[in-house]
């Protein structure tokens, strides 16, 4: 490692402090929730792409789920506030980046549980073989009902009350329900 006079290797104490801030930032991020799906933390939604803590700043890169989602601005503001409390004297820089594109297979198992607890069926897991081909009028692979668990359901529409939801009907318990819209590169 090349050591330059104007850029000394951080002291052990400095590095420990940086790591402490980094883990505090991740903890703060785990407490930021999707305003439209309150049980779902943004870390479980899989939109936190990168956290970088330097000597004077904390950088957080987020990925937009659906580009036109109006909750994105709220999420950014909430993230700035939460990270600000963990960042001490450091400046906070939160931004949305487009690469890599967010896909719904970034939702963690904990995130899928949070969706279910909110009455939303999680999207098909990643990978080409299980993707639901959402032609609005074609019978797709059925989503399971979040209320009774039945697989005897029909897709009503690939579009719903928000950009990230599809609408379904359960023929078993006769309830309408919503699922988180799959978004994958394997289409």
């Amino acid at each position: 490692m090349v050591k330059r006079m104007d850029d000394p290797t951080p002291s052990v104490a400095g590095e420990l402090e940086r790591r402490r801030v980094e883990s505090a930032v991740w903890e703060a991020l785990a407490a930021v929730h999707d305003p439209e799906i309150p049980p779902l933390a943004i870390t479980d939604l899989g939109i936190v792409e990168r956290v970088m803590v330097t000597g004077d700043a904390v950088h957080v890169d987020l990925l937009p789920t659906f580009a036109g989602c109006p909750a994105l601005d709220v999420i950014r503001d909430d993230t700035e506030r939460a990270v600000g409390r963990a960042a001490g004297d450091r400046a906070v820089r939160v931004r949305f980046v487009y690469s890599p594109p967010w896909t719904s297979d970034r939702i963690t198992p904990g995130g899928r549980d949070a969706l279910r607890s909110h009455g939303l069926t999680p999207p098909g897991a990643g990978g080409g073989s299980v993707f639901v081909p959402l032609a609005a009028l074609d019978p797709p692979r059925a989503a399971s009902c979040p209320f009774c668990g039945s697989g005897d359901t029909v897709l009503e529409s690939a579009f719903g009350p928000t950009l990230c939801r599809t609408t379904h009907f359960c023929r078993a318990c006769r309830n309408p329900f919503e699922a988180f819209k799959p978004k994958t590169r394997s289409r």
Binding site: P64, F66, A67, C69, Y98, P133, A135, A158, F159
Partner: protein, 292 residues
Amino acid sequence: MGAMNLDEPRRALLLALADDELIIGHRHSEWTGWAPHLEEDLAFSSIAQDEMAHARMLYRLLGEDSGEDEDRLALGRPPDQYRNAVLCERPNREWGYTVARQYLYDTADAVRLEALAASSWTALAEIVAVMRLEEAYHLDHARAWFERLAAGPVTARHRLAEGLETAVGEAVALFEPLPDEETLVDDGVLPRSNEALLADWLAAVGEDLEAVSLDYVLERHGRVGEMVPTGSGEVAPGESLSVPGLARREGRWVHDGGFAGAGGRHGRHSEDFLPLWEEMTTLYRAHPGARW
């Protein structure tokens, strides 16, 4: 940083892409509250929201270079500076036309976005990757309705066919060459020329239409309507954009000849644009500098 020249090639490309999305998004949003049923109300409202978000990402990229505000780019330009194709500005008319136009627009959009995903301009390729994941749903929606109307009953089929006849010529004009396009192609910013993209699109659409025995609309398509002055007064009376003819040769649909005159990509618009622009920009013009 000063604003780039409007005909600077990258700017022309971004404006063509973004203005198409913004303007067709505006038309889609007009179905909110009026679509044939609730699911379609939600579908077109959602698609509109996606298209406007795509336009916003592209305006933001343009603004990074020119220092312009994204709201100003979307809503603060005079009408003759919009570069959308005329197809996007046409009113929704009725359901058959709406389905025909969405099918033609989203198939064409898929062809150009596939090419742009490999753009040498990384920032653009990244935005295009996000767009394609969302456009896949629009294409599914358009195809589902295309197939349903094409399958009949006969009134539905006729309305779709009429819509296609009306829209095909103007859909071809989505591929009107951009000013200084050669530069973009040489630099790999636009990896394939509009002429090559038109050929790909036409072959694919020709197959779809043949599969439902509606390919005759390609020969019968209407011309692009007359252009009217949109502020600069530069359009001579009777002037219009003429698009290549379409013909079936050796088992596939091809275009014949080139474009003449100037259309949306040169800021020329139909009589339908000004009323749309006036409505779309009313709030922005009434409250200059307002933030929301």
